[in-house]
Symmetry: C2
Subunit: 252 residues, 2 copies
């Protein structure tokens, strides 16, 4: 293990899986746009089409960009740790801002039309995921980017950050599926059971959304694709003194 | 790491997390029963209530029992590997049979009432998950219980089996949420937005379902809670010769 890690070559199959994840992710974004454009009248802020801003923004922000933010540590395996960290944090900021626009759109649309807020399972899951995402970002920032946390504190928090990051991503995908289902049942109603083209397209979109979640999770969890500890250690320059005196992060 | 693994004490917090997962899982099953009993007229095979067999069976089989089958290796950490394996396989058989009853119930209900089959995202995900579950069981059986596969083949397949096991479990939870949402939108319709008690109960059930999925995943993935390789090696008696000549499974 140690010798393989210190050589740190990019594993042969990794680029193909990453490319496949990007193909799936971009297809999901394009298909969401196509569904909204073809069957839901397109997108606008100042009209009934304001609702459509919501699914597009959530899919771009909390599915595609969030997924890509998690993959950063697998794709940029040999870059300086700090660069990768900043990119990881920035992608999450973009994802958060785009998701926030999507949230404002749906609340504003509800307000203008006198619809109730936050009554459905989709909305409960959505608010929960959004708050968890924000908290995870704040805690992640204060542990890993803000120069205060000690090396041992970082080492102990890291597995929790990774687990909750992956969990929040999967909950985001699940919430998107619930939202897609909600729109289909509200808009198509009984026509859903006659295999209307919109229903079939949206079902395929749902399967691709789930597929994107699975592929990102696979790339993230495959043991031999993890970022080699050596590169990690090199870039933790501010903790270098602590590091050389203590254990390596890989051994904890 | 090695010394900790060979002592193999049960990690202090593990029993509490397992107990919490069981509390959550049993609450989910009880709450599904309560929801169907209180608001959906109860359960029967020969009437319109046949539909209600479906959600109850799927939650017991593909959520609770499937989740518990995954936890077997964390709970019985120091039992003989073969005993744990057989229990893992048997729990999956029970889960599969109960889920099959749930599937027959919904198809039979659709047939009797002239409803269309397999048009919704829930049904597409459900069939996909059920087929994947069956294939995973067959492949798992032929690799790990059928005495043919070599030790190195098992070692190479094991991480894939674990990844796809966890993924199929998470997809099952997601599919259950989609199904719950479908029933709520069909049966409650616009009343859903007035915070009817049934809607609120079902939303809480949905959050608990997702919570069970997260806790099982946490217990399963926490690195220091993994089954110590020593106990694994001892029980792989049929491969003992190969094992002592080659690498230990923990190092692959």
């Amino acid at each position: 293990m140690e010798s393989r890690a210190s050589m740190a070559p990019t594993p042969g199959a990794l680029p193909y899986y990453v490319a496949f994840s990007q193909l799936l992710g971009l297809t999901v974004v394009a298909m969401t746009g196509a569904w909204l454009g073809l069957y839901r009248g397109g997108i606008a802020w100042e009209s009934a089409l304001q609702f459509n801003v919501h699914p597009l923004c959530m899919v771009i922000g909390l599915v595609f960009l969030q997924g890509d933010a998690l993959l950063v540590y697998r794709v940029f395996r040999n870059e300086a740790k700090r660069t990768t960290k900043v990119l990881h944090g920035l992608l999450h900021v973009f994802a958060f801002i785009i998701a926030l626009v999507g949230l404002v759109a749906v609340f504003d649309y509800h307000r203008k039309n006198g619809y109730a807020d936050l009554y459905s399972l989709h909305s409960w899951c959505g608010i929960l995921v959004f708050v968890l995402y924000f908290v995870q970002w704040l805690v992640g920032f204060s542990f890993f980017l803000f120069p205060g946390a000690s090396f041992s504190l970082r080492s102990r928090y890291r597995p929790q950050h990774v687990f909750f990051g992956a969990t929040i991503f999967l909950l985001s995908v699940g919430t998107a599926l619930l939202g897609l289902k909600e729109v289909l049942l509200f808009k198509l109603g009984t026509k859903y059971s006659t295999f209307e083209p919109e229903g079939v397209l949206a079902n395929i979109l749902g399967l691709l959304l789930a597929g994107f979640g699975v592929v990102v999770l696979y790339v993230l969890t495959r043991a031999e694709w993890k970022r080699p500890p050596q590169a990690e250690e090199q870039a933790l320059s501010m903790d270098f003194k602590t590091l050389t005196e203590g254990d390596s992060p890989g051994s904890q």
